[in-house]
């Protein structure tokens, strides 16, 4: 019981504080850094910047047909675990209650058993992604600690959540504490590794879109 109280209490508070401070730190420092502004004359086909940014965010959701065949597995697998994670995090009632307690809003939930099935699929999908990374020679060479650790802190909540719901291996309060601690670990790491793409993906894609748009690329 003491581990659970630590997890629900000081551990979560610390993790959320570090998460907020870290995300604000990353975004602030990024936007306040210098930028090389392109002062050249724009192309005649230039669209408004905002439109170009949004179009690029959308465009990169799906690869160019040239690359499709080679990247199809990673693409589909990536969507499977991203959508799976979103379903688990936002449509399981205990999680919704967590957000309701923090923010005061709630929304409908899905049956627990359905989320259980989605979690299994998500876990398998994450393992497949790791295996792809480790078996592909090029990916193996360029993979860093960040790549592996970010995978680990994403996978851990999924697997600990499954184990807790299944009441496997230890008393439930211990399993639940481990699940909450794994989420705390994820929150603490997120701002400082590649998981920051939660927020930055929109920034980077917009920037690329604006840049190419200025040159007149038809996107």
């Amino acid at each position: 019981m003491e581990l659970l109280e630590f997890a629900r209490g000081p551990a979560l508070t610390f993790a959320i504080v570090v998460f907020i401070a870290g995300v604000v730190f990353r975004i602030t420092s990024l936007f306040l850094m210098w930028r090389t502004r392109d002062t050249s004359t724009g192309s005649a086909r230039e669209r408004p910047v905002f439109v170009a940014a949004l179009r690029e965010i959308a465009r990169r959701m799906w690869p160019e047909s040239v690359y499709k065949r080679q990247t199809m597995f990673q693409l589909v697998n990536g969507y499977v675990f991203h959508i799976g994670l979103a379903i688990i995090v936002f449509l399981l009632l205990p999680h919704i209650l967590f957000f309701k307690d923090l923010f005061g809003i709630s929304w409908p939930h899905l049956p627990n058993n359905l989320i259980y099935a989605v979690s299994v699929i998500t876990a398998v999908s994450l393992i497949a992604a790791l295996l792809m990374r480790m078996s592909n020679p090029a990916q193996r060479i360029i993979s860093t600690f960040d790549d592996y650790f970010s995978w680990f802190v994403t996978f851990l909540p999924v697997i600990t959540g499954l184990i807790a719901t299944s009441h496997l291996g230890a008393r439930y309060e211990t399993l639940l504490a481990l699940h909450i601690l794994s989420v705390a670990l994820l929150l603490v790491w997120l701002p400082f590794g590649k998981l920051m793409h939660w927020f930055l993906v929109f920034v980077t894609r917009s920037q690329t879109g604006a840049h190419l748009n200025h040159r007149g690329a038809q996107l």
């Binding site: 508070t13 504080v17 730190f25 205990p94 967590f98 307690d101 923090l102 939930h109 058993n113």
Partner: protein, 377 residues
């Protein structure tokens, strides 16, 4: 006739007669022993065939001297174990013990009461059981709870010295309970933190289920041994399973059907009470099987989530109505400060980087002997 006041008057037979002999004169037949034994075997989750052994053990036992010490407590545990109205099978336990000292139930008071305690300790040295309810304050030499001019700590230590076993009844004695809850102004501690050289059985709960108390005493009497205990010193027969594992609302939990508020349509249909704060998944007690008031009901059946009252620190679990999946404290309290801190560090680091870059650009320009042009950012 089984009667709690009779028990509190002391043993009615010479100390060396067995319970079987002593009680047969009072009309408690061996057959009654067997009925009590069947009931006890059932609540202890022993096989029904153990009833014979229990009946035999009880009948051959001496009347057990019990000294009940009450410290920082609310008397709820005593209320739970006793019962007004028609004497019944559940009250038989008071025929099997000699309740030699109990603040609420005993007839004697003042010096006479303390004399009774010391007499019982002397005459039953090495064989009496000490039952404790309430926690013991340690702060400031234990001045926050005194009885008969001595602190609870002193009374506990002197009484337990020649005892055979100690039973900590209720969450206060077992884990510190409400006096021990944050901020614990009296320095309240569980009995097991003070008594380390005698067997201590914890029967937690706020209050404990009466059968958990009487069943454990009956087990001790019948088998002259401690029942199997879990890692918190609680008898596994009563605390081996979580409420969640035996809750009749469990199928609704599995299917994700939750009551949204007290007594709404879902709650009346038997839907799970997770959302209104039920701590059933992390609470170990027999409420879902034995229930309360001889099997009438228990909190979840009455539509209220489990409080977790048999677990350590249940008062400090964040709130009875906060679901288990929520943060205990209020993390967003720090959100503003965290954002400001992050922004401050971010801005500082960005401007530091910028000024470093400007310096190096200036230096490069000066070195190239060109007019210093600062790139406009």
């Amino acid at each position: 006739m089984s009667d709690k006041n009779a028990a509190a008057r002391g043993p009615v037979a010479p100390a060396n007669t067995t319970l079987g002999e002593a009680l047969s004169d009072r009309g408690v037949s061996r057959r009654t022993f067997l009925k009590f034994a069947s009931y006890t075997a059932s609540i202890l989750a022993l096989p029904p065939t153990a009833a014979t052994a229990i009946a035999q053990g009880l009948a051959n036992a001496r009347r057990q001297s019990v000294i009940w010490l009450s410290f920082q407590e609310c008397t709820g545990c005593t209320e739970s174990i006793t019962r007004a109205g028609t004497p019944s099978i559940e009250d038989l336990i008071f025929d099997f013990i000699s309740l030699d000292y109990h603040h609420t139930l005993q007839n004697a008071s003042g010096h006479a009461a303390e004399e009774a305690r010391h007499t019982a300790m002397r005459e039953n040295a090495g064989e009496y059981i000490v039952v404790v309810d309430g926690s013991v304050p340690l702060k400031d030499d234990g001045i926050y709870s005194t009885i008969a001019g001595i602190s609870n700590l002193q009374m506990l230590e002197e009484t337990v010295r020649d005892a055979f076993a100690v039973i900590s009844v209720g969450s206060c004695a077992a884990f510190g309970g409400i006096p021990g809850a944050y901020p614990n102004p009296t320095g309240a501690v569980p009995i097991s933190e003070i008594i380390t050289d005698k067997p201590v059985i914890n029967i937690s709960g706020c209050p404990p289920i009466p059968e958990a108390m009487t069943g454990t005493i009956a087990y001790l009497l019948s088998f002259a041994a401690l029942p199997e205990l879990d890692h918190l010193g609680r008898p596994k027969a009563f605390f081996g399973e979580a409420i969640h594992d035996r809750c009749y609302r469990r199928p609704f939990y599995e299917r994700g059907m939750f009551a949204k508020s007290f007594d709404d349509e879902g709650a009346r249909q038997g839907w799970c009470l997770y959302e209104v704060g039920c701590k059933g998944p992390v609470t170990y007690n027999a409420c879902a099987t034995l229930k309360w008031n001889n099997g009438v009901s228990f909190p979840i059946q009455s539509g209220h989530g489990c409080l977790g009252c048999s677990e350590p620190g249940f008062w400090d679990m964040g709130g009875f109505y906060k679901p288990l999946s929520t943060a205990k404290n209020d993390p967003l309290k720090w959100a503003g400060g965290a954002a400001v801190a992050g922004a401050a560090v971010g801005a500082t680091s960005a401007f530091a980087a910028r000024s470093l870059r400007n310096k190096s650009l200036k230096a490069a320009a000066a070195a190239a002997n060109a007019p210093a042009t600062e790139e406009k950012e």
